[in-house]
């Protein structure tokens, strides 16, 4: 752990939380993607290790969806 921390400060290595614990980004394959359609703008990042998905994060921004309409009645 101490060695890892020392390396972090000296080389600014990015650490990724994975299903296998903390891993250096350089040891992983990074895949990114995005999607935009009528309801959302979505971006995701994945990290793979030995053909296994070990990290996936997603950011979704919703486009305008429900609107409550107001109507007044007649007499």
């Amino acid at each position: 752990m101490f060695g890892l921390i020392k390396k972090l400060f000296s080389q600014k290595v990015k650490i990724i939380q994975t299903t296998k614990g903390e891993m250096e980004e350089t040891a992983l394959e990074k895949r990114e993607g995005s999607l935009e359609n009528g309801t959302e703008v979505t971006n995701w990042v994945e990290y793979w290790h030995d053909k296994e998905l070990v990290h996936r994060s997603v950011n979704v921004t919703l486009k305008p969806q429900p609107v409550a309409q107001t109507i007044i009645g007649g007499f």
Binding site: H55, R56, S57, V58, T61, K63, I72
Partner: protein, 155 residues
């Protein structure tokens, strides 16, 4: 000058602020009017059947309480008062919804907002593309709080 019929724009924002309680009083909850209700956001599986016919939040179809997810969801940050923009009443939470150190129990595509201070009454159902999270973070970024984009709009 002519008279023009319509719902007052200010009324729409005031509804979101809990200012009006119409009718004979039946069903009006006891409340401290100067305190906002607690609103929560919960995630639901692709296989769930949430929709506008829902009245009260429940855990049917919600992500399991595993992998860093707590059933019931996260508390919505309400730093911005509901208001009126043009003729539209608007409200948008003031911070994104974030689940971190999170591994989802299955694919999900829905977030439900509900009022945990008022018997978990549901407010809205929002859907997006199917997602799954692995040892990561899921963020729902809030839209601009205006008449065209606010998360909740009464037009």
């Amino acid at each position: 000058m002519a008279n023009v019929a319509g719902m007052c724009s200010s009324f729409k924002g005031e509804l979101l602020n809990g200012i009006h309680a119409l009718g004979p009083g039946t069903g009006v909850p006891a409340r401290t009017v100067s305190t906002a209700d607690v609103v929560k956001a919960a995630l639901f599986l692709v296989s769930a059947s949430r929709g506008v016919a829902d009245t009260v939040y429940n855990t049917t179809g919600e992500l399991a309480g595993t992998g860093g997810y707590t059933q019931g969801g996260v508390t919505v940050t309400q730093g911005t008062q509901p208001s009126t923009s043009g003729t539209t009443g608007i409200f948008t939470p003031s911070a994104s919804f974030v689940w971190s150190s999170f591994t989802s129990s299955g694919a999900f595509d829905c977030v439900v907002l509900y009022n945990s201070s008022q018997g978990n009454k549901e407010i809205s159902v929002h859907t997006f593309s199917s997602q799954s999270i692995t040892a990561g973070t899921f963020t729902l970024t809030m839209p601009t709080n205006d008449a065209s984009n606010a998360l909740l709009r009464i037009a």
